[in-house]
């Protein structure tokens, strides 16, 4: 399968504190791909690199098989963006903003614009300056989803949306995906939403990629294990990360690709429980384990 987004060895810096990369990321076509991570992990920076709002200091970027930014103009016609930083207020009203943006894109489907306006309760006469944050996001989503683009890049597209609008957007994204050559790259903090609609997930922390995999494989790969602790032996076993210790118990993150519960038993460890985790629990655990391995840095 070809890739929609391909980052090779991309590095960039932001001020003195933050650096991203070297980042290798490959987003397959035909999937909804979620970028997750705590604030300041580098999600928005990564998406800004893809939108051309920022240049990498090193590395190469390919979008839809074309080098970026060398083929910038050709690429932009085939991609839609939604970001909290988009500002349409210069056009005063929703209707004028839509008409202006539509004039750039031959692939615009006006009937879809109208259907989305109805579903999301956004009207042509509304003044952009008077829109709430959520309504501005809806407008940006209407613009992106009105086009027949091949790649949608969405930076936190569901912040400020009520549950009804959120569901509308998910259904629209999945309908967009009915054409299997299309791809959605999305950054989000709403992990239960990500778990529901995304196929792949990439986890960033402090500007580095911790893991990237199909979401079902990721969830099946890890277990939260509780041991009856005598001396702590688990700390030295590969594929385990000790999370907590106390009251005669030891709680571990177990990476089944490296170590199985059976291997723990063979070492004489006493397993009290071993449970799969939700994406949110796994996220918290992997971030905590990664932070513990790093020298202290301010967040």
């Amino acid at each position: 399968m070809s890739t929609a987004v391909d980052l090779k060895h991309v590095c960039t810096r932001f001020g003195r504190e933050f650096s991203l990369g070297p980042l290798n990321l490959s987003v397959p076509r035909g999937s909804i791909y979620a970028l997750i991570g705590p604030n300041g992990a580098g999600k928005s920076t990564t998406l800004n690199l893809l939108m051309g709002a920022k240049r990498p200091e090193m590395g190469t970027i390919e979008l839809l098989g074309l080098p970026f930014p060398a083929q910038d103009a050709a690429i932009k016609q085939r991609i839609g963006f939604v970001s909290p930083e988009l500002d349409y207020s210069a056009w005063r009203t929703v209707g004028r903003a839509i008409d202006f943006v539509r004039s750039f894109y031959p692939d615009w489907v006006q009937s879809r614009t109208e259907r989305l306006q109805m579903l999301l309760d956004i009207h042509r006469t509304q003044r952009i300056a008077e829109l709430s944050f959520g309504q501005r996001t809806k407008l940006a989503l209407i613009m992106a989803l009105s086009r027949e683009c091949e790649l949608l890049i969405l930076d936190e597209p569901t912040i400020g949306l009520d549950p009804v609008s959120k569901r509308v957007i998910f259904i629209e994204l999945l309908r967009f995906m009915e054409n299997e050559s299309r791809t959605v790259l999305i950054s989000s903090h709403q992990l239960s939403d990500v778990e529901r609609i995304a196929d792949h997930v990439a986890l960033l922390n402090h500007g580095t990629l911790l893991t990237a995999s199909p979401i079902d494989e990721l969830l099946e790969r890890y277990r939260w294990v509780e041991l009856a602790a005598r001396e702590s032996q688990a700390a030295v076993i590969q594929g385990t990360t000790v999370l907590e210790r106390g009251e005669g118990r030891e709680r571990l993150l177990l990476d089944l690709r490296v170590t199985t519960p059976q291997m723990l038993l063979e070492r004489g460890l006493d397993i009290i429980s071993s449970t799969p985790m939700s994406l949110e629990e796994l996220f918290l655990t992997l971030i905590r384990a990664d932070d513990a391995r790093r020298p202290w840095r301010p967040r």
Binding site: R196, D216, T260, P261
Partner: protein
């Protein structure tokens, strides 16, 4: 939505429910087939269309279809699509047998999670079987 005209309607699916999403889909489709609302040969929606209808990821629907195919409830024909299997209704109604297969499947998973070896799992199963002899008057099947 007006252009959505499908014969297949499922109850709402919930994240954070007792069963994973794909399993909720499997159960709901099995009930549809068992009730005769989806007779043998009925076409199933493509998984992309179905994902949009249910507002769940493609990977979730794919996995549900794989499971239903494994249980013989649906059949995939290369290039033609996916259909309810000729004996899908019977298979989905043979609930007790399938329920037993599923219970064993999750028992295996639990055993592996607990670190048991396959040999140990088989020993346990044999002991369970020995401890609960089959009543002589009960024939298999219904």
């Amino acid at each position: 939505m007006p252009e959505e005209t499908s014969t297949l309607r499922l109850p709402p699916l919930s994240t954070g429910g007792s069963a994973p999403l794909y399993q909720q889909i499997v159960e709901a489709i099995r009930r549809e087939v068992a009730s005769g609302r989806m007779p043998p040969g009925s076409p199933m929606p493509s998984f992309r269309t179905f994902a949009a209808q249910l507002a769940v990821s493609l990977i979730t629907v794919k996995r549900a279809y794989e499971e239903l195919e494994r249980d013989g409830i649906i059949l995939r024909h290369q290039g033609l699509g996916t259909f309810v299997a000729p004996d899908g209704e019977r298979r989905s109604r043979g609930d007790r047998r399938i329920a037993a297969v599923h219970a064993l499947r999750s028992a295996v998973r639990a055993g592996r999670d607990a670190g048991l070896k396959d040999r140990e799992l088989l020993d346990i199963l044999e002991r369970e079987l020995a401890g609960s002899p089959q009543p002589a008057d009960q024939t298999s099947g219904e």
